[in-house]
Symmetry: C2
Subunit: 290 residues, 2 copies
C-alpha cells in the first residue's frame, strides 16, 4: 500500500472572467442556488473573501471587499454634489450602494429599484452587512423595471447610481445611450449619474462604448478609478455623467466610519494613467475576449 | 452517436495566490521550463496577458500589465529625489525596473544585481520589451548576491529599488530589517529605498511585518498604492524608506512615453484607504492563508 498525505475534500467556484482568464475561490458552504425569473443566482461562503453573491456566473459582491466598490459608487458623487436630497439606485439589489447613500445627512430619500426581487430577498437573508439599510426610514425598495420607474419620476433625483450587473442579456441596455437619456430625464437640473464601466484590461470592449454612450448624453463625463479585488483585473473604472457640477472635487467630508473612501482618495481617483486616457479618448480599437 | 460541439485543446496555468484563491490563464505556448540553481522558472505565452514569467509558481511579470508595476517601482522615487545619479536594482532580473530607471536624464548609472543569472538570460531571450535596457550604456548587470554587492558599495546609491520575488525561501530575508539596514548603508545621505510589500487583501501577513521592519530602519516610510492586475487582488502596496526627502511630492515631470505614471498618479497613489492605514499602523492581527 502506497503511503500518501491526508487530503481534505475541496470545493471551488470558478469565474470565467474572460475566455482566457479564470478566478477560483475555495467554497466552504453553499448557501443558495436558484434560477430567478431573470438570472441564475448563487450564494456561497468562501474561505478567502467571506460570503459571495454570484449572478449568471459573475461575482457580484463578497463580504470582504464589497466596501471598495460600494463606497466608490456612492460617495464620490454624493460628496461632490452641493445638496443631494433624493437618490435613486438602479439595480444594486444587494443593498450595498443603498447602505452608503443613506449615510449622508442631506439625503432624505434613497430609492432602490431592482428588477429581481430574489436578489433583494437573498441579500436580506444571507448578506446582513449589505442589506442592513433596507429598513432605514429614508429607504424605499421597489422590485421593478428601473426604466419604467424612471419614466414616472422625471426630474426628481439629485444622484442616480447605476449599479448594474455586467452588460449581457437584460443588463446590456444599461450601458447604452437610450438608457442614459432616461437617466438624464429622471435627474434634477444639476444632477449626477454615476456608474461603473468595468476594466481596461479585461473589459475594454464594454468600457469604451459605455463611456462614449454617456458622452452622447451628458455634457461632461468624468471617469475615475478604484481597486476591486474580486472583479476582473482588480482595476475598476467608474464614470460620473454631470449636468452642471464638477465631481472631481469633494465639497464636504465623508460620513464617518468608512473603510475605503476619503476626500484624498476621491481626488486621487481622478488621476488616470495615460494608457487608460488613450483607450477612452483616442478610440483605440479594442478586442473582446468575451 | 451523440452529436457534440467541437472542442479545442486547452492548456491552463494556475497560480495558487493563497491556499483559498487561484488565478488561471490560458496558455497558448510553453517557451521555457527549467530548474535554475535558485528557483523553478517558467515562461509561457498566454492568451490574455501576453508572455508571462513565473518563478516558483508565482506570476512575476506579464507583457500586458508589467508597466503598471515597473513604472510605479521606479518613477515615484526617481521623480521625487532631487538629483538621482546612481540607482541600484536588487532582484528585478527581468529588466523592467532597469528599463524605467535609465529613462531619467539625471541617472548616470543603474546597476541590476540579481542572484539568478537564468532569469536575466530568459528575459534577454524571451522578453525583449523588458530586457531592452540591459545593453544601455548606463546599465551594469551583476548576476550575484545583492547583500554581498551592497557591503562593497556603501553610501553609493541615491535610489535603491528592491524588486524582489515573494518573501519565501531565499527572498524571505529581503523583507526583514537586517536587509533593510544593508540597504540603508548602501544609500547616500539623502537616499530613497523603494520596494513593494504585497497586498492588504491576500498578503497582509507579509505586508504588515515588512512595513514595520522598514520603520525600524528608516526615519520615515511612505506607503503608496498601484493597480497590478496579475498580482493577487490587483491592489499592490509599495513603500519608500527615506533618509531625508518627502517622496510624496514629485519634483519634476515624468520621462516621456509612460503608460501608467504621471505626476497626478504619483500624488494620488499616496491617498490610502482608511482600512489600509489601520492595518499598517494599528497592528491589526493578520491571518496568513499561505
Amino acid at each position: 500500500m502506497i503511503s500518501r498525505e491526508k487530503r481534505h475534500n475541496e470545493v471551488w467556484f470558478t469565474e470565467e472572467s474572460t475566455k482566457h482568464l479564470r478566478l477560483s475561490l475555495r467554497v466552504t458552504e453553499e448557501l443558495v442556488r436558484k434560477e430567478t425569473p431573470y438570472q441564475s443566482l448563487l450564494a456561497l461562503e468562501t474561505a478567502e473573501y467571506g460570503r459571495m453573491l454570484v449572478l449568471d456566473g459573475a461575482i457580484q459582491v463578497t463580504e470582504k471587499d464589497e466596501f471598495c466598490y460600494h463606497e466608490m459608487m456612492a460617495h464620490v458623487a454624493l460628496c461632490s454634489h452641493p445638496n443631494p436630497k433624493k437618490v435613486l439606485i438602479v439595480g444594486g439589489g444587494d443593498g450595498g450602494s443603498l447602505r452608503e447613500a443613506v449615510k449622508h445627512e442631506s439625503v432624505e430619500k434613497a430609492v432602490l429599484v431592482d428588477i429581481d426581487e430574489e436578489v433583494i430577498n437573498t441579500s436580506r437573508e444571507f448578506f446582513p452587512t449589505l442589506s442592513c439599510a433596507m429598513d432605514d426610514p429614508k429607504a424605499e425598495i421597489k422590485p421593478m423595471d428601473a426604466m419604467v420607474y424612471m419614466k414616472d419620476h422625471r426630474g426628481e433625483f439629485d444622484v442616480i447610481i447605476v449599479d448594474a450587473t455586467d452588460p449581457v442579456d437584460m443588463a446590456a441596455g444599461l450601458f447604452q445611450s437610450p438608457f442614459y437619456r432616461d437617466v438624464w430625464d429622471a435627474l434634477s437640473d444639476d444632477g449626477f449619474m454615476v456608474t461603473h464601466i468595468e476594466s481596461p484590461f479585461t473589459d475594454a470592449a464594454i468600457m469604451v462604448p459605455a463611456y462614449r454612450a454617456m458622452k452622447e448624453v451628458f455634457p461632461s463625463v468624468h471617469p475615475y478609478l478604484g481597486f476591486m479585488p474580486t472583479y476582473p483585473s482588480g482595476m475598476w473604472v467608474y464614470a460620473i455623467g454631470s449636468k452642471r457640477h464638477d465631481p472631481s472635487k469633494p465639497l464636504r467630508e465623508a460620513p464617518e466610519g468608512l473603510k475605503y473612501y476619503t476626500s484624498d482618495v476621491h481626488k486621487g481617483s481622478f488621476a488616470l494613467p495615460p494608457f487608460l486616457v488613450e483607450m477612452l479618448e483616442k478610440g483605440e480599437k479594442v478586442e473582446s475576449h468575451y
